[in-house]
């Protein structure tokens, strides 16, 4: 029964994304364009002593995976906020649908989109000649990691939507998410960041560990520390965000 409900909501979430090109094209195209620009413009940075690879494209390929996941926050949040604003959630609350099924279904749709994004970026990397040092198994780990990251960021967006009930408030999150992305080890390994406060901020920023987890699979191979930190941060984010979203959903349904 619950599985049927989850499936129905997940299918609706996926269908709604597929029907709106504005929902799935930017998460694929913008990160790819940024990758092209940065990997071209910063190629000479690989000449710095201590730079971990001689291909900036391989180094930067981690960024679209995380940037795409940040878009998941926006998509999940905006869709749910629209459901609240249009009264769809209020009507759903009159049906036997369980709150947990609604949340799981919505997040299921976000995770599917995350998998599509991951497949796209892996193909872009392979087409551009990037050698995934962790091999096929590493790519499989990458898909698993992307699922957890999408789940975490999707739940964060859902939490914001349930708390605010406003699509505009979710859109307002976008610059903040970009701050987290840019003040990280996105373009330079942390040990090569020269400015002390920036290195400290990047070290304190959890997005750095998500990036370094993906990056380790691409340019290093199997780095236990990077994988543990990345999966740890992603898992913690997912647990906390899903918990917050579940509480917010309960409060929202009680109000409707």
């Amino acid at each position: 029964m619950v599985a049927t409900q989850v499936g129905a909501i997940a299918m609706r979430s996926i269908a709604r994304t597929v029907r709106q090109p504005a929902s799935f094209i930017p998460p694929l195209v913008f990160p790819t364009m940024l990758l092209a620009v940065n990997s071209g413009g910063l190629a000479s940075a690989t000449g710095l002593e201590g730079f971990p690879t001689d291909s900036f494209l391989a180094f930067a390929l981690a960024v679209p995976f995380i940037q795409g996941a940040l878009f998941s926050t926006m998509n999940a949040g905006t869709d749910l906020a629209r459901d609240i604003q249009t009264g769809f959630l209020s009507r759903l609350s009159l049906t036997p649908l369980r709150g947990s099924a609604l949340l799981a279904g919505t997040l299921g749709g976000v995770v599917v989109l995350g998998q599509v994004q991951t497949a796209f970026y892996v193909l872009v990397g392979l087409a551009a000649g990037v050698d995934f040092h962790a091999g096929l198994l590493g790519i499989a780990v990458l898909f698993a990691f992307a699922s957890i990251v999408s789940l975490g960021f999707g739940a964060l967006g859902s939490f914001m939507a349930l708390r605010t009930g406003s699509g505009e408030a979710i859109q307002g999150l976008f610059p903040l998410l970009f701050v987290f992305l840019f003040i990280s080890s996105m373009n330079m390994p942390r040990d090569l960041i020269e400015i002390d406060w920036f290195r400290a901020a990047a070290t304190a920023n959890p997005v750095s560990y998500l990036l370094e987890c993906v990056r380790s699979l691409i340019i290093t191979g199997w780095d236990g520390e990077a994988l543990a930190l990345g999966f740890g941060v992603a898992g913690a984010l997912a647990v906390v965000a899903v918990g917050l979203a579940a509480v917010a959903l309960k409060e929202r349904l009680a109000r409707t």
Binding site: G41, L42, A43, P175, N187
Partner: protein
């Protein structure tokens, strides 16, 4: 027909809207600061790449890019306001009430410049506090800000032309993306000589590259190809003036 009453009225209204609405004002100031911080702070080690020889240092190198970017995007953000005016119906009433409609375009351009000057002031103060070295004299600096102002004018005329043709906020990406991409297809992180592959080819053909090189040279006190840069900037502004005026005619024809 006198143009100034229309232009000053439109400019005053637009500036009042921007400066009394934090959701419009704050992003246009915060985004350049954010790019400046991320690039000058996070990438300063790039100055040690063999062949990087900008005398004023990496902070100054990135400052000029962010200054020009803020100028161009400041114009584009004002273009969003034009689209919003069309969506709300205000622009149609403005067209009806204006004895000289060219003043509408001039008014929006003045507002874009006024808005950008505040951003430029904040950005400059932050860069100086961050230790930016300035090698150029007063004339060089006036030249740098004039160059940026020409880019700001080009930005608003481009975005205004799009807004007056499409007359919807959904045209935002059409206004913003080409400008954003053109700026990033220039030598943003390292000088042109250090670029390789396809980006070098694109950056060499990109007119913004000459503006950026001249701007950086002005800040350092040894500007290259000044006439070419000003000619390109003025040419862009003139071309987009024609684009905006045709957009205005399109809006008039649409009624």
């Amino acid at each position: 027909m006198r143009i100034w009453p229309v232009a000053s009225g439109v400019a005053w209204r637009t500036l009042k809207n921007v400066f009394t609405n934090p959701s419009l004002l704050v992003p246009s100031i915060i985004f350049p600061l954010f790019f400046f911080t991320a690039f000058a702070g996070g990438l300063s080690r790039v100055a040690q790449v063999p062949g990087f020889d900008f005398p004023s240092g990496y902070t100054a190198f990135q400052f000029v890019f962010v200054l020009l970017q803020s100028a161009a995007l400041g114009g584009v953000f004002t273009g969003f306001g034009i689209a919003r005016d069309f969506e709300s119906g205000f622009a149609r009433r403005l067209l009806l009430a204006s004895p000289n409609r060219s003043g509408i375009v001039l008014g929006y351009a003045l507002a874009a410049a006024g808005r950008w000057l505040v951003t430029a002031l904040v950005l400059t103060v932050v860069a100086l506090v961050a230790g930016m070295q300035v090698g150029g004299g007063a004339v060089d600096l006036v030249g740098l800000y004039t160059l940026a102002l020409l880019l700001n004018v080009s930005g608003i005329l481009w975005a205004g032309g799009v807004a007056m043709r499409l007359r919807t906020m959904q045209a935002g990406p059409v206004m913003q993306m080409p400008v954003f991409l053109t700026l990033f297809f220039a030598p943003v992180y390292v000088p042109l000589d250090l670029l390789e592959g396809w980006i070098e080819v694109v950056a060499t053909a990109n007119p913004v590259t000459r503006l950026l090189e001249t701007g950086r040279g002005l800040l350092a006190g040894s500007p290259p190809h000044v006439l070419l840069a000003y000619g390109l900037a003025a040419g862009l502004a003139a071309a987009f003036l024609a684009w905006a005026m045709r957009g205005l005619r399109s809006a008039e024809a649409a009624g």
